[in-house]
Amino acid sequence: MAVYKKTYRPYDGGLTSSWTRFLVIPRYAFEDLHRSRFLTTFFIASFLYPLICALIIYVQHNVSALGLVGVQGANRLIAINVTFFMSVLGWQSMLALFLAAFIGPGQVSPDLANNALSLYLARPFSRIEYVLGKLSVLVILMSLMTWVPGLLLFSLQGYLEGFGWMQDNARLAFGLFAGAWIWIVVLSLLALALSAWVKWKPVAGALMFGVFFVAAGFGAAINGVQRTKWGHLLNISSLIGNIWLRLFEGDAHTTNGAVFFRVAQGEELPLWCCWAALTVLCLVCLYMLARKIRGVEVVR
């Protein structure tokens, strides 16, 4: 109908599948994020480290080629081992934290600020789909920053080193994938929960860092005063690092974890404690979301 015919008419066209409707949210979110020059630059810059790593892997396997141009001993620069891949994951995960702190606070708060949430939920669209839609914005972007480049590097190394290497080091691929997902889920839930409760974006972003760094400092203070190691329960990066260690190396680990996610020697917490602490954190975030993501807020 032409817009000049200003009459109401019913809709009789087809409808999209209800299963994929939550993906409307990330599509709109990506359009918004794309408009921010800073975020676009930051996101592209986050691939610099994996690019350098890819170059190192290439150099490792093309020594003779480099010899032709006079570069000697390039293969001794860095070994492609568990430390190499944990560093990739560590660096990228830290960048993912920054990304979550930048874009996370803007996810739910604009919908709550002027009651737009009631309009989302007045449609055939559930609270769970809303949260999934918002989560998928962070999950997709952080996946592209963490496990996707990690697995691409693993594949490149496997391609150059041979299928045998891939088989022998399959644990690394699993560690990259599962380790990144644990981090992504924790970060995404935390970012959304803070976005739902703190309407002022800079404060919500600062709180993201606060939860990681201030809580870690508080945990270290508890350890120092009480001469215990249980203060690490407040240190999310240490909890994640502990789990990553087991994912990458099992119980007989040879390193003390990934960069930014180090585990203090002799102060490792039992694995189940790390899982339990992260589970509690996720449940608290889900509870916070469940309290706020409602069609109407009821004052009892």
Partner: protein, 310 residues
């Protein structure tokens, strides 16, 4: 006629407070008014029908679909214009309506087309690319209406649609609602505390008071009925006795302030009898006028408590 909305013992509680108390009604009108004073439960009823509140007991059906078991299906049939502000401030009007249409299930090309149409329809065509946060109150109301109709619902919930509008904007909003109603493609549920809005737009009225159904009235039938309405103004010590005597004659009465009484005369009763009864009770009838029952009368009557207070 199959009811559009059927309330079947619907009860909603917030903690210990009963907000909607055993509502029972079958609403069949094309355009249904939901009236009641502030706190009567009008918005809670709409929110419950949308699935925002869980009924403590009973249920409701919209086009025969139970809101408890078919909430998603019910929401796919309705459009909702809430009472308060509801928008994303940084988003342009047309993009917001398009987002809402896509969430309602429209493919993106259709959603975009319908968003533009809806914006032109509500008279915001020229400002559709402006951020919603910069809209005036009247424009925000119109944008809320646009998002409510963009996906072509079968039932439209309008919660106080003329809230905060200046007189020309109110007239325009009422005209839009009437146009939508007269197209005949959808049903309306218009919640308001403004009797005039409901009277101008609705053919059936559900009046709520303290969470209960105070009256359910078909305005069309009321308008068509040739009943004998009177408004009288009395002076005298024994007004109460006079009213009792008048009721014994078969009149329905609605006492107002300062001796004013609205009466519905039964067929065959002459006005002269009223003067006779008044004389017997030593009451003066100072003024008498024939009057058609308005929605205001119906509303005031529904609001009366047993002791005659409003």
């Amino acid at each position: 006629m199959d009811p559009v909305i059927e309330l079947d013992g619907l009860e909603v509680r917030f903690g210990d407070r009963v907000i909607l108390n055993q509502l029972k009604a079958a609403l069949t009108g094309r355009s249904i008014g939901l009236l009641g004073p502030n706190g009567a439960g009008k918005s809670t009823l709409i929110n419950t029908l949308l699935g925002f509140h869980k009924p403590a007991a009973g249920t409701a059906r919209i086009f025969g679909r139970d809101i408890r078991t078919h909430a998603r299906e019910v929401r796919s049939l309705v459009g909702y214009m809430p009472e308060n502000d509801a928008f994303i401030a940084a988003m342009s009007g047309v993009r917001f309506v398009r987002l809402m249409a896509e969430l309602a299930g429209l493919p993106r090309e259709h959603a975009l087309e319908r968003a533009h149409e809806a914006f032109f329809y509500v008279g915001l065509g020229e400002v559709r690319y402006r951020a919603l946060g910069t809209y005036s109150l009247g424009m925000k109301q119109a944008a809320k209406l646009a998002q409510a109709i963009a996906h072509g619902p079968k039932l439209l919930f309008l919660d106080e649609p003329t809230n905060g509008l200046d007189p020309p904007a109110r007239v325009r909003m009422i005209q839009l609602i009437q146009e939508i109603r007269d197209r005949g493609d959808l049903h309306l549920l218009l919640s308001s505390h403004l009797l005039r809005d409901v009277e101008e737009c609705c053919d059936e009225v559900l009046i709520l008071k303290d969470g209960k159904v105070a009256a359910l009235c078909n305005l069309e039938e009321e308008r068509r009925a040739n009943r004998n309405f009177l408004e009288i103004e009395t002076r005298g010590e024994s007004n109460g006795l006079f009213l009792e005597a008048v009721e014994k004659l078969g009149c329905e009465t609605a006492p107002g302030a300062q001796g004013r009484v609205k009466l519905i005369m039964p067929d065959g009763l002459e006005v002269r009898r009223l003067y006779q009864v008044a004389a017997e009770q030593n009451v003066q009838i100072r003024r008498l006028s024939h009057k058609r029952d308005s929605l205001e009368d119906i509303f005031l009557k529904a609001m009366e408590t047993a002791d005659g207070r409003l």
